[in-house]
């Protein structure tokens, strides 16, 4: 039951996008459609789980003064590995997300979870935390992307249901802020009880 709570807390109580407000750059940048958001979320989750596991395994071996550079090296290695695998096996997704993948390195969710959770907890719990936070990030990005896609292009997951154009502003940068802001209000209203 405790294990399940770790995952659930990543999705609701510690939702990285709507509650912790971490990783705003990829959130605003990649959510032009639901599929892009989901892809970015999945890539981040893969890195998050891998880096959480490794960091929780080696945490006692790392002198505290050099822990941040050590974490960054581990995270960067996993990001590069995910990027290479994506280019090899999912070239279409890579084409859409290409520029944002290397930026996962500096996504503060990952370093934040490494420092805040994996460095203090065991391997299994850290892996579950990575899954939970990763799922929370993926779901939020998919929802933000879906809302922007519906309003902006009149489509959902690439299937167009209106003819003509949607409200373009929601596909452009200002729409990202508007949608994120309103969804944040809604999320916190629903979870505040």
């Amino acid at each position: 039951m405790k294990k399940l709570n770790i995952i659930l807390s990543g999705i609701v109580k510690n939702n990285p996008t709507f509650v912790l407000l971490l990783g705003m750059c990829p959130t605003l940048g990649t959510t032009t459609s639901a599929l892009n958001g989901a892809g970015m979320g999945a890539a981040t989750m893969a890195v998050l789980v891998l880096s959480n596991v490794v960091i929780s395994m080696v945490k006692n071996l790392i002198p505290s003064k050099v822990r941040i550079p050590a974490y960054i090296v581990i995270i960067a290695a996993f990001v590069t590995i995910v990027e290479l695998c994506m280019r090899a096996y999912l070239p279409d997704l890579y084409k859409t997300l290409g520029v944002f993948i290397p930026l996962i390195v500096v996504n503060c969710i990952i370093l934040g979870r490494a420092e805040g959770f994996a460095a203090k907890n065991g391997v299994v719990d850290s892996a579950l935390d990575g899954v939970g936070i990763g799922l929370g990030f993926t779901l939020s990005l998919t929802v933000v992307g879906a809302v922007r896609e519906i309003l902006g292009s009149g489509a959902i997951f690439g299937h167009k249901f209106i003819t003509g154009d949607g409200m373009l502003i929601f596909v452009l940068a200002p729409g990202a802020f508007l949608v994120l802001g309103y969804l944040m209000v809604l999320f916190n209203k629903l979870t505040s009880k």
Binding site: T32, V58, N60, L61, I62, P63, S64, K65, V66, P69, A70, V73, I74, A76, A77, T80, I81, L84, C85, R87, A88, Y89, P91, K95, V99, G152, S153, D165, G166, L168, V171, L172
Partner: protein, 199 residues
């Protein structure tokens, strides 16, 4: 572990070594699939913009300092068309790379966008099927028309609210045509002195 200099150097060194070994290994494993994937993408683009063909030969030239790749497609030894990988630096954001297919009479058969970073919802409409840009040049010999957007007095219908992208697209297509030895009428208008924004 204690914060002694030796410890720190050893640990960081070991982590860096292991990380680079891991990345190197994955690089080796994925090298072949990545090459295959990018070849498959080029082949798919070729098939999309060309009439049926059975083999191609490649030559690289530079037009206005921008490298252009000409794929000459042949069927039973006869030239059936050309697919030209062309590019422009005049896009609204970043380089635009196109694959333009011509038949043996240098009429435009197909245009495929290989890479771009134009505004979603505006400039990226050039990737959609049946967009006005492609409709304007389809089955035409570019030497026999005024290849510039209607706003600049030409024969190409621009994308709504994406004139800069349209001009850049025209510039790239014109470059593809020039790479095959054709000459194009009409200025593309896609110069850096255009300072209005895309909206």
């Amino acid at each position: 572990m204690k914060n002694t200099l030796l410890n720190m150097v050893l640990v960081l060194g070991a982590i860096t070594l292991l990380a680079s070994a891991g990345v190197g290994y994955v690089y080796k494993v994925t090298e072949e699939p990545i090459k295959l994937a990018s070849q498959a993408a080029v082949m798919a683009a070729l098939a999309e913009v060309l009439p049926p063909f059975d083999s191609t030969s490649v030559s690289e030239i530079a037009v206005d300092d921008i490298p252009v790749v000409v794929n000459t497609a042949t069927q039973d030894g006869e030239v059936v068309g050309y697919a030209v990988e062309t590019a422009t630096k005049n896009g609204f954001s970043g380089e635009i790379r196109l694959m333009v297919g011509f038949d043996a009479q240098l009429r435009v058969v197909g245009v495929k966008v290989l890479q771009h970073a134009e505004t979603p919802g505006l400039g990226d409409k050039m990737t959609e099927e049946g967009n006005p840009l492609f409709a304007s040049v389809r089955d035409k010999n570019l030497g026999e028309m005024n290849l510039s957007v209607a706003k600049d007095g030409g024969d190409v219908d621009a994308l709504t609210a994406a004139t800069i992208t349209s001009r850049a697209w025209v510039d790239a297509v014109g470059r593809a045509f020039r790479a095959l030895g054709g000459s194009v009428d009409g200025s593309t208008g896609a110069t850096s002195n255009v300072k209005s924004t895309e909206l």
